[in-house]
Amino acid sequence: MLHVVRSELTRLGQLRTLLVWFGLMAVFAFMINAVMASVVGQAGAGGLPTPGVAFPTRQELEAPSGVMAGLSAASNMFGIVTLSLWAWFTAQDYSSGLIRLLVAAEPRRWRLLAGKGAALLLVTAVATTVAAAANLMAAPIVGASGISTAAWGTDAASVVAAAWAHLYLSQVVWGVLGLAIAVVSRSAVVAVAIGAGYVLLVESMLKMANGVPSDWLLGSTLNAIASGGTASVSFSAALALGAAYVIVGLMLAGIVLTRRDVTD
């Protein structure tokens, strides 16, 4: 199993792609803090209907955990990046034809899937760290917009650790979904279109419709994980639903990969 992970990590070491991944995480972290400072500083309240973004209230932002609020606010944006990169790295095996060599070398295909997942988990941990670091560097932008940051230093280490863990867990669910869609479609473009299209269009529209349990939709659930729970969805409930998404995604990818002929 370890040899599959090492093999995947070697292929994941494509500098340009990793720079895009980490760069996007950092850029989103800076952007969300800048936008958050402007929106929350002026409006003073969260819950603005912005596709893919959930702004905190001024009160939440001024709390000790407010220093990391940018991570949870933009968690779905980070999620789309993570989904895209997991899908890209997975679909690349098909587009390059490498899947033929991989399956011929390791016929136990579920091991290939597990190895790829494990390698991507490691890189996602680095990407999450990059986002967290960028967020900490960008946080002073919020303080400069008139929002009180007096409480931000309280218990800073555990606040940062919890924010990192929450974001990481949400990114793992996003990533597994990207991997599953890419295994089924064998196309990164399809996976990204489905992931981004769902969050930015479908879920945003569903949230506006009456009678739809919007708190339990995919994006909301994963945002609840990234936030450590919300007023309407507890962290444990969101985590359970996220775990269910992961299990379904991995089962789907596993069944398709192990049963489908490698014909291209």
């Binding site: 040899h3 070697t10 070491g13 390059s96 060599l101 070398a105």
Partner: protein, 314 residues
Amino acid sequence: MAVIATRSLTRRFGNITALDRLTVELPPGGVIGLVGPNGSGKSTLIRTLLGLIRPTSGEADVLGHPIAQPKRYASSVGTMIESPAFIGGLSARANLTSLAHLHGTPMARVDEVLGQVGLLGRDREPVRRFSLGMKQRLGIAVALLTDPDLLILDEPTNGLDPAGIVEIRELLRRLAHDGRTVVVSSHLLSELEAICTYLVIIRFGELVFAGPMTELLARTGAHIDFAPERPEDADPLADALRAAGWQVQSTDSGLRATGTGRAADVNRAATAAGITLARLGEAQDSLEELFLEMTGRTDGELAAGRATGRREAD
């Protein structure tokens, strides 16, 4: 023991039968050519042997292990399936390292195979900058990573220029000389006849020929090409020769006779019939001619043959 043995191996894709009850045994050692026209089932056979696709029915063994358990022979078989597959943004060395990790092969082997295919010195360049010939050589390096007993290479000279083809041929010859069995597929017999010791010809997924190259060469016979001085004498001359026991057929430039006699016998028969010959000569059938006779000359002929086969099957 046969390195590869199939028994009634069949694979269907919808209405298309890519492998049709194929039964064949490949002996160990040397370069074995797997030849057939495009769409004859070569790639399907290779993929089935490597566990990439499952057969509809039938059985097969690779190095004595059933194809239902490819893990048992995966590290003993080196493969290049269709075009070489690499991550273009990674260097040749990184691509090889990734696959070496997957096989659990020591990293020192990466240098060895790079040296074997002559890519040391270019190994740190991104593969996307490689020419097709370099990619093919890198593909063979991947196949050699585990120092396998059996190499299965699907069209390794595809898209190469003549110099590249000669280069790959020499490499394959060397690999076989080192004691490996090298199975090479191609749709052109001419690409393989110079290096193969054993040949398998398939068409429509069915076995047409399997045997030593010498056996196929023995099937090529001599023929006599000739033409009467006056074109209207062609039919009476053909009739006269047929009556004498020759097989005669028309060609683009005249007539062709096959039989036990020599050119002088044809000349005598023509003279006896009062016909003057404008041209007469003996020639040897080429292997390519024989191959085309066995597999069909054109894509249209193949398509017609396949359709006829299907109607007969219906």
